[in-house]
């Protein structure tokens, strides 16, 4: 393959934008904007109060500066806090979606037409600030599983929202979660009743289209006793030369023996690979509470985009015998910066956690793993296993590992393994000398390195995730 072809094929193929009439708030943030947002969404008073409380808290907070990131100053008054494609009437089904929008999602590989839908995956589609609708509603309804937009959930299940919103990630948890709590406009809500195994994978596809909009989605997943659900989110954005802010909050609650598997394939626009201009700033707070005994929450993420990623999907292991898992591949190329990892907070007895983190950095990017394993004094007999591997491609990029370990009792065990390697010319030469083409060789080395993480992904997405990683790296190798 010629160099030009490789470059062309590795360009960000989701970088187009959609011409569509939108309704949008003026730029900037104040109490009136929040009241207007809440009014527009016809929210109950408790939610308006939640937002205002968060806003006031946010005003007193400062952006975190401890991460290994160079973050340019963000002007929060130059961001639009509500932007939505104009929809004349409420849609009865996704088939009524504007053809222009429908085309957008076809190009993204998320067909929302009835005939072409991904089999066995129910998708909620979010475009800028609003949800366009959810596929496979009927199948889900029959099982009693709820997958809907946050707005719809506020309308239909206000008591659940009031009880659980902010229960895992408190309003004042951090600067970005406070901002999100004040201004979130959309997101997904999942509810799995007692004893139910969700009949299919649930998924949300997020698309930022607007140039000046921030995206602040809010996701809440509740898994009742003895239930199981697997949820996947995907995200892309057009290539603009300005930055867009994405500050999401995801909260998961698992009751007794419930299991939630949450997977992410993050492919936001990462900015121009040569100049670093543009790209999404991705500041995300994700946390799960293993509230019940023997409950389990598992995070799997493939982070392959965004100019800046600041993200630590975490588990509060409250219930005795509960299990937390974090499997991550973070890839940085061009001028990307990522500071990502997890927190495993062991509170219950005999709780277990596993962390497998694979960082790949290329070009002039910077990639850090930051992780906290904390075992409380009462969490007797707990165990953690952490494995952190970094792979460097070329020699101008950097990889860092910041593990924090606090163990509060003598009956617990913590294991930490770390390695740094270079995807060497030697490895490539070895495979090539056996007749394997360079491109396939890169693909093989990468998938070998990420195998422990990719195999945790739902089957439908594992192949996609691997392809994405290989595509992203093609022009960085050799």
């Amino acid at each position: 393959m010629q160099t030009e072809e490789i470059l062309a094929s590795s360009e960000y193929k989701y970088g187009f934008s959609t011409e569509i009439e939108t309704e949008r708030f003026p730029l900037g943030l104040n109490e009136e904007v929040i009241r207007e947002l809440s009014r527009k969404k016809k929210e109950p008073d408790f939610l308006l109060q939640f937002r205002l409380k968060a806003y006031r808290k946010w005003l007193t907070m400062k952006e975190p500066s401890w991460a290994h990131l160079r973050i340019p100053p963000i002007d929060f008054q130059k961001i639009c806090y509500y932007s939505a494609p104009k929809i004349k009437q409420k849609l009865e089904s996704l088939d009524q979606v504007d053809p222009e929008l429908r085309k957008t999602f076809e190009r993204l590989g998320v067909p929302i037409d009835e005939q072409k839908r991904l089999t066995n995956v129910a998708v909620d589609v979010v475009f800028d600030s609003i949800s366009l609708g959810t596929t496979f509603q009927k199948t889900l309804q029959e099982a009693g599983v709820v997958l809907c937009s946050m707005s719809e959930a506020v309308e239909k299940y206000p008591e659940l929202i009031e009880r659980y919103l902010g229960s895992v990630v408190p309003i004042g948890d951090n600067f970005f979660s406070a901002l999100n709590s004040a201004v979130f406009s959309e997101g997904s809500f999942v509810y799995v009743p007692k004893g139910v195994r969700s009949p299919m994978e649930l998924s949300t596809y997020f698309r930022i289209n607007d140039k000046v909009s921030g995206q602040f989605e809010r996701t809440l997943i509740l898994a009742e006793e003895d239930s199981y659900v697997s949820y996947l989110e995907g995200c892309t954005a057009p290539s603009y030369d300005t930055n867009q802010l994405h500050a999401a909050v995801v909260e998961l609650v698992a009751l007794d023996r419930a299991e939630i598997k949450y997977s992410t394939v993050q492919n936001w626009y990462a900015g121009d690979p040569k100049t670093g201009l543009g790209g999404i700033w991705n500041f995300v707070t994700k946390r799960g509470r293993c509230q019940g005994v023997s409950s389990k929450i598992s995070w799997t993420q493939v982070e392959a985009g965004a100019a800046i990623t600041w993200k630590y999907p975490s588990c509060l292991l409250q219930g005795d015998g509960s299990i937390g898992e974090f499997y991550s591949v973070a890839l940085t190329t061009g001028h990307m910066q990522a500071d990502t990892g997890t927190k495993m907070i062991h509170l219950g007895k005999n709780t277990r956690s596993t962390i497998v983190s694979k960082g790949i950095s290329a070009d002039v990017s910077s990639n850090s793993y930051r992780g906290l394993v904390k075992i409380a004094p009462q969490a007797e007999g707990s165990r953690n296993y952490t494995q952190c591997d970094s792979m460097l491609i070329q020699d101008q990029c950097s990889a860092n590992t910041f593990p924090y370990i606090e163990v509060g009792n003598a009956t617990s065990q913590v294991e930490h393994e770390a390695s740094t390697s270079k995807m060497s010319e030697e490895q490539l030469f070895y495979l090539q000398s056996r007749g394997i083409e360079k491109e396939q060789a890169v693909h093989m080395i990468l998938s070998g390195f990420c195998k422990d993480v990719i195999r945790e992904m739902p089957l439908e997405f594992a192949v996609e995730a691997q392809k994405l990683l290989a595509l992203k790296l093609e022009h960085s190798v050799g």
Binding site: L431, S433, R434, G435, I436, E437, G448
Partner: protein
Amino acid sequence: MLEIVNLVVAKEGRVILKGVDLRIGSGEIHAMMGPNGAGKSTLAKILAGDASYEVLEGDILLQGQSLMGLEPEERAHLGLFLGFQYPVEIPGISNTQFLLAALNAKRAFQGKDPLEEEAFSLLLQEKMYNVQVKEEFRHRNINEGFSGGEKKRNEILQMAVLEPLVAILDETDSGLDIDAMKIVAAGVNQFMTADKSLLLITHYQRLLSYIHPHMVHVLVDGRIVRTGDASLAMELEERGYDELLCVKDGVCN
């Protein structure tokens, strides 16, 4: 079969090979010997197409076709094989997966249909039996956690599966105990037929007790300074490079 003409090779501005000529015919085994730093491994890697070296002059021909400018995988497709002195570890990819990909790449080049996993499994079983490697080699990741000897035997297994026309084995004997060496030698001897060629790069004579070369070359400081039959290897073993080549005084007999 393999012809090297006045090969001059540099790395990072330093000239390592200073004009090497070599011709290996079908059915022939040649041994390349020489002290450390003579350029033996460079020769092996440059033949296989290692791009970190620069060819300043000369040509390499395989069956009359120049290999200059060809990628390593293209050379492999044409029938070249390099057994590495230090095979690298590649985590997460099983030997089976790797060998099937390699074999099918070659078959695609030859215009043959890819081998299915089942058929390949049988082929692999036969080859593994022939070169006496353990069943577990199949599932283990490429060279990961292999001992030195296991890595070398894995190279021989790869050679047996890929069936090249010309094999270059770079110090395949180093790090092997006597039993392992016998097994490797048996594998090599099995590989050798009238239509194949072999270049054995070795520091010591001992492998040559099991694999009998038609010709022995001595490489010193980037040049072939002596060429002879198998007895040259014996002579080297007895007298050492220095004495044989009078390198110390700079006067050669």
